[in-house]
């Protein structure tokens, strides 16, 4: 890495305050069907050296959220609101040209699919040195040495030889290591990892996650780990935000989230994962129905239709994030899991179900699955 420029950056870095502060960010897309509320009022902050896990199913807005912060959104048919402060300076309204100053040296991103994120007709070495030369203005031989050091640091054997190879000569795991090397090349302070291991095998996934964690600690970066797998973030994130239908529905430190989960969606998500500790043929607690359409006005809680705790109030009023007992724990629910109100609501729904179950056919309607 370019030592000199890193030292310079640390010198002017404000030591206090959050690295990233996101305040009520909304990202809507205008489509033929109407306005898609992909991200609908999300706030969070991230300190240096910390990892935030963003968890949710496909279509919950987790990728659009990270792209909103990075400024990697389409220019057309876009509606943006809210404030994004990076080291105290507002970046939400910057145009792409101004945003480029931040890419690479301040924040960078690792994408899901290492097969298609690398340029297939460009040598690995040039893909790494390209960003070094562009952002840090270093000479060719220095960039090349740095690239070798980077490849070695991400666990690629024979890094010198790899520089002159093309992406197709590497396996999926190796390509993802190259992606990480490129993302780390200019020493960013904030790293987005958008489903970095979804396309990889479990054994390689564990290697890549370990690598990301080691690099993050070494460089004291802030990291945002976006994934659909609660297992991936459980041991690796400091804080976890659970997203549903474009909003954060629960946010807490990893430990609190798993021990004191309050939102019914978090609970349902946990329960629907098949666990190794369960005996085989254990019936899974599937979440009925599917995520809501993000087009159109929202009315009430967006999880209400699938929620075992839902009450008439949930279909009318939109719950906002409230503080839980533990510091930093927030959830948006009127009848939280594990509280007297929640237990009462659940019991009421179950009673209602028991009385009607004999009368109605148990056929599932379409909309399920």
């Amino acid at each position: 890495m370019s030592r000199k420029s890193r030292a310079e950056r640390f010198a002017d870095a404000p030591g206090d305050g959050a690295l990233l502060e996101v305040e009520d960010v909304k990202t809507y897309f205008r489509t033929e069907r109407g306005t898609v509320r992909a991200v609908d009022g999300v706030s969070f902050s991230l300190e240096r050296g910390k990892t935030l896990g963003i968890v949710g199913e496909s279509g919950c807005g987790k990728s659009v959220l990270s792209r909103s912060v990075m400024g990697l959104l389409p220019k057309q048919n876009l509606i943006r609101e809210g404030s994004i402060k990076f080291e105290g300076s507002e970046v939400a309204n910057l145009v792409q040209k101004d945003m480029q100053r931040f890419w690479g040296t301040q924040m960078s991103m690792i994408f899901q699919d290492p097969m298609t994120s690398l340029n297939p007709v460009m040598k690995i070495g040039n893909q790494i040195t390209e960003s070094l030369r562009y952002h840090l203005d270093v000479d060719k031989s220095f960039a090349r040495e740095t690239a070798v050091a980077l490849l070695a640091s991400v666990g690629i054997p024979e890094p010198k030889r790899r520089l002159s190879e093309y992406p197709h000569q590497l396996s999926g795991g190796m390509r993802q290591r190259v992606m990480i090397a490129i993302a780390l090349a200019c020493g960013p302070k904030l790293l987005f990892a958008d489903e970095p291991t979804t396309a990889l095998d479990v054994t390689v996934q564990a290697q890549i996650l370990d690598l990301l964690q080691a690099q993050q600690r070494e460089r004291f970066m802030g990291m945002i780990l976006v994934t659909h797998d609660l297992g991936v973030v459980a041991g690796r994130a400091d804080d976890i935000a659970v997203m549903y239908a474009g909003r954060i529905v629960e946010k807490a430190s990893a430990r609190t989230l798993f021990t004191e989960m309050r939102h019914p969606y978090t609970e349902a998500l946990m329960k629907s994962i098949p666990k190794l500790s369960d005996k085989s043929h254990t019936r899974l607690a599937a979440i009925a129905g599917r995520p809501p359409d993000l087009v159109g006005e929202r009315k009430g809680c967006s999880f209400a239709a699938r929620c075992p705790y839902a009450q008439p109030r949930c279909r009318e009023e939109d719950p906002t994030l409230v503080d839980g007992a533990t510091l930093g724990h927030q959830y948006a629910c009127f009848f939280p899991v594990g509280t007297p109100e929640g237990r009462e609501a659940l019991a009421r729904n179950q009673d209602a179900l028991d009385t009607t179950v004999d009368a109605t056919d148990t056929t599932v309607t379409p909309g399920v699955g």
Binding site: S171, M174, G235, S272
Partner: protein, 351 residues
């Protein structure tokens, strides 16, 4: 790893579908080299059972599944279904068996013809086989759609793009069960689905199995998913079998170092377990064009010795229905040694 051998095979008169010494090889261009996708694999299924095939990508699990239904014919070995040697059948004779052996694929959307209506997709098997008349076919289509949890009145006339991924997988399942098959080969049926939908489909497969008396071969890379549905699990690596056993005992006490490594690599949703305390398996799967000599897993195995390079391990019985192909299996309670703490692959990885 894996090794060859038939110690885990059950008597022929008890099994519904069995493959003995299955070999599948593909030529690499005109180089004369071969991809050894499946090398001497023997598996069997008893009626009503679910056998799970697990392993990393490139381990030959899908190829094994396809070779079972002769898509394509395997290079070597034989497949016996219900007393019939499928490998010797061709053309019309093989076609006659097809309705009894169905398949469900990974990508639910691309495995359905986008220009057809759901009733055409689901009912096509009946039409091809001239089963019943129009009215009874319609009734059968409605019955299976209802069984997979779709409202026949709504779903019948729609096309695949009007459904979500999970719903498309339900349609695939309906299409597979309509010809009253005995065996369904499920090739990663839930890998493309979200966790909440994945649970719905896994539950549905269990229901279908009971309702239609199915026997399943369930191919997946997710050990927790495989454990959930299977009665017997076969762990594969680079075209060979590593370990066979009932999931509850095998996952509690893996004997093969590869099974232990796979289990250790699974991210567990519990923040009190630090993942770095469970060392991942180093390296990546070697190229199937030139697989390692002896045990194919030895290049990544923390327990590998000289013997492993010289001699291929043969599958042997460990008792309790568990079988392993390893010279130095893990003793009960033995942890997998750390692979020098380095995650740098030793072998040159090839695509």
């Amino acid at each position: 790893m894996a090794g060859s051998g038939t110690a885990h095979m059950r008597p022929e008169n008890e099994t519904l579908l069995r493959a003995e010494g299955l070999v599948v090889e593909f030529p690499v261009g005109r180089t004369g080299l071969k991809v050894h996708a499946v090398s001497d694999v023997s598996i069997d299924v008893i009626e009503g059972e679910t056998v799970g095939l697990v392993g990393e990508s490139g381990c030959g699990k899908s190829t094994t599944g396809r070779a079972l239904i002769q898509l394509p014919h395997p290079t070597g070995g034989r497949v016996v279904f219900d007393g019939l040697d499928l490998t010797s059948l061709d053309g019309e004779a093989l076609r006659q068996v097809r309705p009894k052996l169905q398949m469900i694929f990974q990508d639910p959307i691309s495995s359905l013809n986008p220009r057809r209506k759901v009733e055409e997709i689901v009912g096509e098997g009946l039409r091809i086989w001239n089963i019943g008349d129009d009215a009874s076919r319609q009734a059968k289509v409605d019955e299976v759609l209802d069984a997979v949890g779709l409202d026949p009145a709504v779903a019948r006339g729609r096309r695949p793009h009007q459904f979500s991924g999970g719903q498309c997988q339900r349609i695939s399942i309906a299409r597979a069960v309509i010809t009253d098959p005995k065996v369904i080969i499920c090739d990663e049926p839930v890998s493309a689905l979200d966790v909440s939908v994945q649970a719905q489909i896994l539950n549905l497969l269990e229901d279908m199995k009971e309702r239609y008396g199915l026997t399943l071969i369930f191919i997946a890379h997710d050990l927790a998913v495989v454990k959930n549905v299977s009665d017997r699990v076969v762990v594969m690596y680079l075209g060979k079998i590593c370990e066979v056993g009932p999931p509850d005992t095998m996952f509690a006490q893996p004997a093969h170092p590869y099974t232990a490594g796979l289990l250790a690599a699974i991210p567990i949703p519990d923040p009190s377990l630090r993942p770095e305390e469970r060392p991942p398996l180093a390296g990546e799967i070697p190229s199937p064009v030139a697989p390692p000599s002896g045990c194919r897993f030895r290049t990544r195995c923390p327990k590998a010795q000289e013997l492993c390079a010289a001699e291929e391990p043969i599958i042997r019985d460990l008792g309790g229905g568990q079988y392993v192909a390893c010279h130095f299996p893990l003793a009960p309670g033995e942890a997998l040694p750390s692979s020098n703490g380095s995650s740098v692959p030793s072998a040159s990885p090839l695509g």
